[in-house]
Amino acid sequence: MKVKNMLKIVALLLIIPCFLIAQNKITVTGIVKNGETQEPVAGVSIYANKKVIGVTANDGTFSIKVNEDAAITFTDVRYSNFNLKLKPGQTTVQVLMKVRDDKMNEVVVTGYAKKARELTTGSTVVITAKDIRDVPSANVMDLLQGKVAGLNINTSSGAPGSTGSIYLRGLSNPSFSGAGADAALTPTSPLFVVDGVPIDVNSTYEYGFNSGGPGINPVSLIPQEDIEQIEILKDAQATTLYGSRGAYGVILITTKRGKSKVPIVNFRTNQFLSTVPNLRKVIGGKDERMMRLSEILQFDPNFQHALTTIDQTPALTDSLNAYYNNSTNWQDVFYKSTWNQTYNVGVSGGDQAFNYKTNIGYFNQKGIIKNTGFSRYNVDMNMQYQPIEKFKLSTTISAAMGENKKGSGNGIMQTGVAESVNTSSLLPAPGAFGANSADLAQLAVIDNNKAAQLNTNFEMQYEFVRGLRATNTFSYNYMSGTENTFTPAIMNGNMSKSYAYNDLTGTLYNRFMLNYAKTFERGHSINLYGFSEISSKKYKVDAIQQTGTPSDGISGPLGAATSLGGTLSNTETRDVSYAGNVSYDYNKKYVLNAGAMWSKSSISGPNMPWAFNPTVGLRWNFSKEKLFEHLTFLDYGSFRLGWGKSSIPVGTIYDTYGKYLNGTTTYNSSPIINIDWSSAPNVNLIPATKTDLNFGTELGLFKQRLQFVFEAYYKQNDNNLYVKNLSSMNAFSQVSTNELGLVNYGYELTVTAKPLSASSKVSWTVTANAALDHEVLTRLPGEAKQMVVVDPNTGLGTMYRVGRNSLSNVMYNTKGVYASTGDVPVDPATGLRMHTGAPGNTIYFQEGDARWTDVNGDYVINQNDYIVCGNAMPLVVGGFSSYTNYKNFTLNVSTSFKYKRDIINAAAAQAFQRFYNPAALNQMLPIDQFNYWAPSNTKGVVYPNPYDFTRTGDYKATSIGNGTYLPFRADQTLFMEDGSYFKINSIAFSYNFNRNKTKKYGITSARLTFTMNNVYTFTKYTGPNPENVTDMGYDRSDGYPQSKNYSLGLDLQF
């Protein structure tokens, strides 16, 4: 209350001068409301004679003194301007502001400069807070799924706080680390710029499973409630001036600012229930025991051996054991629904001269897997001070802390749980005497991961002469990630283990910019700006691991049996760039925009000159031509063409200059400094370059009731980094070179429609978008035209072939099952049936075996029979969303789809693979739903005989590599499925309380929301979820399933 009183006094003091000047004036009072939702609108500036004469209060009311005949204008960035002419004697008005949905009037930012959309030549999309506010999410990027044409967000993990892969306009870099199920593509996320400060999420991922830091992505630290607007810059015309890191696209996030003279307090909470999706069915108890017994007895050709196997498996025979016929539901042990909440309080206020905002938020989501979860705490503040029109100063401080519990997984995958869940129901549930220690690890391991982030930003602007402005932006971003894991002795072979990880990233950034804008007579106007940019980044990672600590209570620092520790990485990167840009327009009809950036990075080789990245863009707003003037249905229409180049420094400083290792080897018992022979230095390493050409059309028809944006693009990625193995006669084993190239081209279409007329009481906006992307590999290392990369860990291969999409699978072609042994082809020369197998263990095909195509006709199935097929990247991605409003009710539906993506259903393969050893006590999944071969079912069968366990191998990587007969190996066309899907991402239903009813409690606006998230996925895919799939299109069964969330939200404004 005290604050309120004080503010009243301040307001009074501010108003007093007005009284002194005001004469012959009348007092006008009224209220400003949102024309659609009838919510009062705070912070609307009221102009008369181009002077600000007032701002609406937080309940939308205003009181101004104006001349009787004054033309009054109400302006707010969110709404179209409202012009008011007072009728004689009128002193009260109700102003209904119209929400601005005319895409032409959006203000977009490209290259750090704001522009009206009709003057931009690049490809950009703007998403406002309205579209993302209703669904509580640990990561705002997930909410953009299906909302932006060309933005493919692959939420491969349902772990709270994890970030899916983000691809803007297709795959940009086909090189990956690991392969097969564990493969992760080199991240090529767009650059995030939060309030003008770049945050790079692509680097520092190497120890955090591609999500930055110990499993926490910096994007997860951005509070969703504080976001005012998200802008996605897609083509080089828009992104070139963001320099190297913007080459994969730029996502600009603008947080809220104060704009009401009377402070607004906004409180928002979401209470949500995360429920476990349908987990797989398992076979348990007596059924499982009988099934194992019958498999052994029926399909072991040696009866004695079968009896021995049974006798040696007590879980099958020990009828005196208390756990005989036990049935543990392992999934139930680990998965559970959780109740979660978020709270956010924002205070903002001020006017053009001085405004401020403070936002405090808390987000907590416990994972549906026990001992996992994510919580976020953040405080954000910004302030802007503009005492005179020439001088502006603004600062931002935002601090955030994320806390992530990973259980025994790595944040993305839950290998620990997967191992435990993959346990026979015949074994007893967790307990220290249990057979399975991974299950206890999930529950008993102490695991704490924290990421703390502090972003500060300080910006000054001064206008020396009219039109010439200098701006300096300085920011420092500090991020620290720590991870502490303690595994008690009982869990780790009687050796307690503690692991501590610590990383620090400090980024210093400064940009100085000069801007000159002038409008000449006859409609010519130019805008020139140039800036210099320097940034310096320090990154240091240390880790320590102690095994065999003195006790479970004392985890160090002394007394451990083995102690490992040291610095994993310690790098410093510096970048300098200079850029300039010229924009010219004639009557806003013809627009030319040209710019260039020169940049140099410390990680490029010493032989690398300054990278020169030019860009040119043209725009023709043809609807402003006289020819189209009388076309009343055409609101706006334009063509634009943009071309640009950007370069991305790749690799690390070690790739360029090599590395010395200190003390790893000794000479005469004293440590020496030795060259690191693992990677040869390559001083000719150059940045990767991206060149793109973008053509766009924008059309608005029938008073904005129908709006189209169509874009076609061609994007060429050259000189991508590839780590090449060197032949063994070299001293070094690997070298990094710039020898990978690919091209993306495609089309994007966004349609926004308002099917109902403007006079309708229901307002309904539908937006649909789709993007079609073709990706073609154009260059491979050593000018090779084709390469097969086989992962030594899984034995699975990926084919790179010039002219083809880069992520192609190599696999056996399955053509059903041999109904009888007589169907197996016979080699006419040797008389042998077709066969396969590891050396010394030839397996001749027989009835019930997989019928793989013998591509080369040698009657042997081996790696020469692989075919190349599939594409792990979807052909079309898009979405459809609808926003309906009727009186106080709002219904917001958002969907997304992917079309034509090939997924390897390894989950199904694994269900069958479990049968390879009926005596091994792993989880058994029912396979009744599959049409598999059995002696009684031989015709038209899809899957081979799963029970023939004596002839099949163990499905380990070595077995896949050496040709062991594995009828259910994942790399065969039998398990490659179409992963197209259509998903209802969210349905949000909200209700605005009548202001009159809430006003007496001091509440100016109250909104209640009910949201369902991850509602339903329509798909023909037979696996658990076509989305929960790695970037390489591999549906691994140890992923973190996506929870369905039901949320109740309350949004109050005081």
């Binding site: 059309t697 016979v826 040797t830 042998l832 006709g857 040698d858 020469n864």
Partner: protein
């Protein structure tokens, strides 16, 4: 009306312009990117370039082709096969001969000779072929081809291999084919170069518990000789019989009944065993010293483990066994296991000659 026409004009204008731009852009995009094409790796090569199969038996020489980064499948063909000495085209290798091929798989469970023969047919093939896509060489066994085809130590043949796919064609020139002279059976006593027998007999190793009647020591010297005979039994089709005989030190026949535990019915994959007495013995079966089976050649028919072969299936395995009460009343099981193979069809007789000492068959 006027408005309408203008409207349609604008619509048409917009549509055409947009379409033109799309077509232009997508057209040029497609021109910029390389078309997917198959690849012929310039470093792909044969790891072995000299091949020496044995004549008169069908040999599959697995492709020693290292594909490198070549797109599969590729097409192989043999070109220009010629006499290495004279350079003349080698028509003997390109002419077609009737050879036996397998149409169904041999399992070792066939019940008659006819059933086995039903699984084989005759096809015309060149003696040296390459499999179209696999690159395996097949050297077909044709009887008496050693009289037509050059063999070691003659210089043999040179040939080129053309490897082609849609990405290109490569030639591998002057690969060598130097066949070795036929070796009709194993254990072999032939010299590979001359094709002549080095000794008139071959030896046998797998003797277990076979003790001599005279010395009471373990017998090791058993000489085995293979030779073709003219079957006296008219029921046996010529070229499809195999006979076993045993001789003592004085080359007197040993009665087969002495091998009292031998499973004669499943000794080899042969049919209708005919027992015959030696000319010096009586006619009864119990006195017979000769057993003749009706068989299909080669033996074994294919390299596939069956009940009649060694565990790796490369040789047939005949086990002659007997049991006796030895010293101290101990039962002694003796085994003469004889792994062998015969590649040339004919009416073969295998003679075992206990040269130094006869086995002690009787109880102690």
């Amino acid at each position: 009306m006027n408005k309408l026409s203008q409207l349609s004009f604008v619509q048409a204008f917009n549509t055409i312009l947009t379409l033109a731009m799309i077509v232009m852009l997508s057209g040029c995009a497609k021109d910029y990117v390389p078309k997917e094409q198959e690849v012929m790796d310039p470093e792909a090569d044969y790891l072995t370039k000299t091949f020496s199969p044995l004549l008169e038996r069908t040999t599959l020489i697995p492709a020693s082709f290292n594909y490198g980064n070549t797109s599969t499948p590729v097409t192989f063909s043999i070109l220009n096969i010629r006499n290495a000495g004279t350079g003349e085209p080698a028509s003997e290798l390109t002419d077609k001969f009737p050879v036996k091929i397998w149409s169904q798989s041999y399992t070792g469970k066939e019940q008659s000779l006819a059933e086995i023969e039903a699984k084989r047919t005759t096809e015309y093939h060149s003696l040296f072929e390459v499999r179209d896509h696999a690159g395996d060489f097949v050297f077909w066994g044709y009887p008496n081809s050693s009289t037509l085809v050059q063999s070691n130590p003659q210089p043999g043949y040179l040939f080129d291999v053309k490897v082609t796919n849609k990405g290109g064609t490569r030639y591998f020139r002057d690969m060598k084919l130097i066949p070795n002279k036929p070796i009709p059976y194993t254990p072999s006593n032939f010299d590979h170069t001359s094709g002549m027998q080095l000794t008139p007999y071959t030896t046998i190793g797998g003797l277990l518990n076979v003790k001599g009647a005279k010395t009471r020591g373990y017998i090791s010297n058993v000489q085995v000789s293979f030779h073709k005979i003219i079957p006296k039994d008219s029921k046996i089709q010529s070229g499809t019989s195999l006979t076993f005989r045993f001789f003592d030190t004085l080359y007197n026949p040993i009665k087969l009944t002495k091998f009292n535990t031998t499973k004669w019915a499943t000794l080899i994959h042969g049919f209708n065993p005919v027992w015959k007495a030696d000319s010096t013995s009586g006619p009864a079966k119990i006195d017979s010293a000769i057993i003749t089976y009706q068989v299909a050649y080669p033996i074994p028919l294919i390299t596939y483990p069956t009940a009649y072969t060694t565990s790796d299936g490369t040789q047939a395995l005949a086990m002659f066994t007997y049991s006796r009460i030895g010293f101290g009343g101990l039962k002694e099981d003796a085994v003469i296991s004889f792994p062998f193979s015969i590649y040339e069809s004919g009416d073969w007789e295998v003679d075992f000659w206990f040269k130094d000492d006869v086995p002690q068959f009787e109880n102690n």
